[in-house]
């Protein structure tokens, strides 16, 4: 598993890929950070990182599919999938190796973004507990989206299609709570409840406010597990169906 992890990390960091995507992430973070600071005086709301993180999540879902689109689609395109599957490594290790490599990239991005809180702390006050919660929540939420993106990448040979489908799936996941609040859905309270249970944004909101609720952690972890298991099944099943 380690060799797959290492190869994936290399493919992110030995190419400009990791740096460009981190730069884009930092750009978005800066943008929102600046907007929030600029609007600080005019509004009664105090500036907190909660808001920044909450807003960054929205833009972040555009980045995740770009991170994950190649992970399985390219293996199939270049015929290297055959190398992985015929080597004495189980499919589980392939799935986990790739997943952890993408998590490493995510961690790298978050590490770079910590420049802002550090800078803020030097010139003002930062609520450390809340910040840690926000980072944890962001990491869990990001991990879930990465697992989803990888799953979608394993469906297709074309990485662009994987990216677009990933985008759509993540939108659904993020905004399913808005949909559940519409007048139409509120006619069916049960449906509303179910849809709300699947939405990621309110759960992330708790994290960014400084709450670590067990139910939210379980939600993210179980979603990650489901996507990874599904991913495993897709790879196994494709081998049976080929032709």
């Amino acid at each position: 598993m380690f060799s797959i992890y290492k190869k994936e990390v290399q493919s992110y960091f030995y190419t400009p890929f990791a740096y460009i995507i981190t730069a884009l992430f930092m750009f978005l973070f800066t943008l929102i950070f600046n907007i929030k600071i600029a609007s600080m005086d005019s509004s009664s709301i105090h500036f907190t990182f909660t808001e920044v993180f909450y807003n960054v999540t929205f833009y972040f879902i555009f980045l995740v599919p770009i991170m994950t689109m190649r992970s399985y689609a390219d293996e199939r395109k270049f015929g290297t999938e055959i190398l992985l599957i015929t080597s004495p490594v189980s499919v589980w290790k392939i799935v986990l190796g790739k997943f952890f490599a993408a998590l490493t990239l995510l961690a790298f991005m978050l590490l770079c973004s910590s420049v802002f809180p550090i800078f803020t702390a030097m010139h003002g006050g930062v609520i450390v507990g809340q910040l840690i919660c926000a980072y944890l929540g962001f990491f869990l939420c990001g991990a879930m989206f990465i697992a989803l993106g990888m799953l979608i990448s394993s469906f297709t040979e074309n990485s662009i299609i994987a990216a677009v489908l990933g985008e759509i799936a993540m939108f659904v996941f993020l905004f399913i709570d808005r949909f559940s609040e519409t007048g139409f859905v509120s006619q069916f309270p049960l449906l509303q409840k179910v849809l709300y249970a699947f939405s990621a944004k309110p759960k992330f909101a708790y994290f960014s406010k400084g709450f670590i609720r067990l139910s939210d952690v379980v939600f993210f972890l179980s979603a990650i597990a489901v996507f990874l298991i599904w991913n495993y099944i897709v790879i196994e099943k494709r081998r049976w169906n080929r032709g």
Partner: protein
């Protein structure tokens, strides 16, 4: 020893590989021969555990590939049809990644990589990105990957495709050298290659095994008869009648017109070469047919192969062949028919 028993693969309702069985002995090079789409790659993919089989069993040194895949796969080095290389990696990075995949201990890794690099003469390109390499080098990098960790059983799917003649010779030599402590299964549609390298061949077509034997035996059993080429001037109907009736001639395989009056006959013999030749020459000359060329040759593996593959659709008899030519001639046909009757 590698045992393949009753291997079958269905793609939907389409049967790609049909109930094939063979074994590969230790230190043996087995050629796997068949036209495109015969099921060679599918079979190889099943042996390596990439594709699951619809039915049957593959045992590699005692490990069942579907029940004990990790142990079975660690005995295999596989070079697929398209070398499985990552375009964005350097050759040395790629080999180090593959060494890790195969579980070669860290301490031995660099030594092992050096060994395969030298064996395949890719040491000088090891710092290059794989996407910048030529097809031949990519193929060699893929081959190097298969040799990493010195697996006992090598599966090479058309390893010499895309190489220049010099490289082909080198790769063949490497394969022959591997015989010392490896079993190799080696697919190709180039016959000379198989006959140069392999101990035994499996011929496969449309998913069925047509033959498993040594090359010598195949030649003897199928194309053991000599082929006689004879070029004559004169009436082709008369000539073909004479040739067909001569004792020792098995059949006329082809008749081809050459120039205005000349015809080339290809004849399969089953009698003694000298007797047939002198009898033929005597009879033909007596019937005012002059001979401009006559020689015999041994059928080669190509012949055996084509025969194996097309066993069902072969033409037989001089009549069919003559008819074909006459039809091709068109307007000439009438004259020929009348001429034939006169002669009879």
């Amino acid at each position: 020893m590698i045992k393949i028993e009753n291997l079958t693969k269905f793609y939907g309702n389409n049967r790609a590989v049909n109930n094939i069985s063979f074994t590969i002995n230790d230190n043996e090079i087995l050629g796997f021969l068949g036209p495109n789409g015969a099921g060679k790659s599918t079979t190889m993919n099943m042996i390596t555990g990439y594709l699951p089989m619809s039915a049957g069993k593959v045992t590699i040194y005692g490990y069942d590939i579907s029940k004990d895949p990790v142990k079975a796969k660690s005995c295999i080095g596989y070079l697929p049809e398209i070398p499985p290389v990552y375009p964005d990696m350097r050759v040395c990075e790629y080999l180090s990644f593959c060494a890790g995949l195969k579980g070669i201990p860290l301490a031995e890794r660099s030594k092992e990589i050096e060994r395969v690099q030298e064996l395949l003469k890719i040491t000088e390109v090891r710092k290059k990105l794989i996407k910048n390499l030529s097809k031949g080098y990519k193929q060699r990098v893929g081959f190097a990957q298969a040799l990493l960790g010195n697996p006992k059983f090598l599966i090479l799917d058309e390893p010499t495709v895309g190489l220049d003649p010099n490289q082909v010779m080198e790769v063949r030599k490497i394969i022959t050298d591997l015989r010392k402590d490896h079993s190799v299964i080696f697919s190709s549609h180039i016959l000379s290659e198989v006959s140069a390298v392999c101990d035994r061949v499996v011929i496969i077509n449309k998913g069925d095994i047509k033959a498993i034997d040594t090359i010598d035996n195949l030649e003897r059993s199928l194309g053991g008869n000599l082929i006689l080429h004879i070029k004559v001037k004169g009436d082709r109907t008369v000539a073909s009648n004479i040739i067909e009736l001569t004792e020792g001639v098995k059949e006329i395989k082809s008749i081809e017109p050459e120039g205005s009056d000349f015809f080339s006959f290809t004849v399969e013999l089953d009698g003694d070469e000298e007797t047939v030749r002198s009898a033929l020459m005597k009879d033909l000359l007596n019937n005012n047919i002059s001979i401009s060329e006559i020689f015999t040759e041994k059928p080669d593996l190509e012949e055996v192969f084509v025969k194996m593959i097309n066993q069902d659709t072969r033409k037989t008899g001089a009549k069919d062949l003559l008819k074909e030519i006459i039809e091709a001639d068109g307007g000439d046909a009438e004259n020929e028919e009348s001429g034939k009757e006169e002669n009879e």
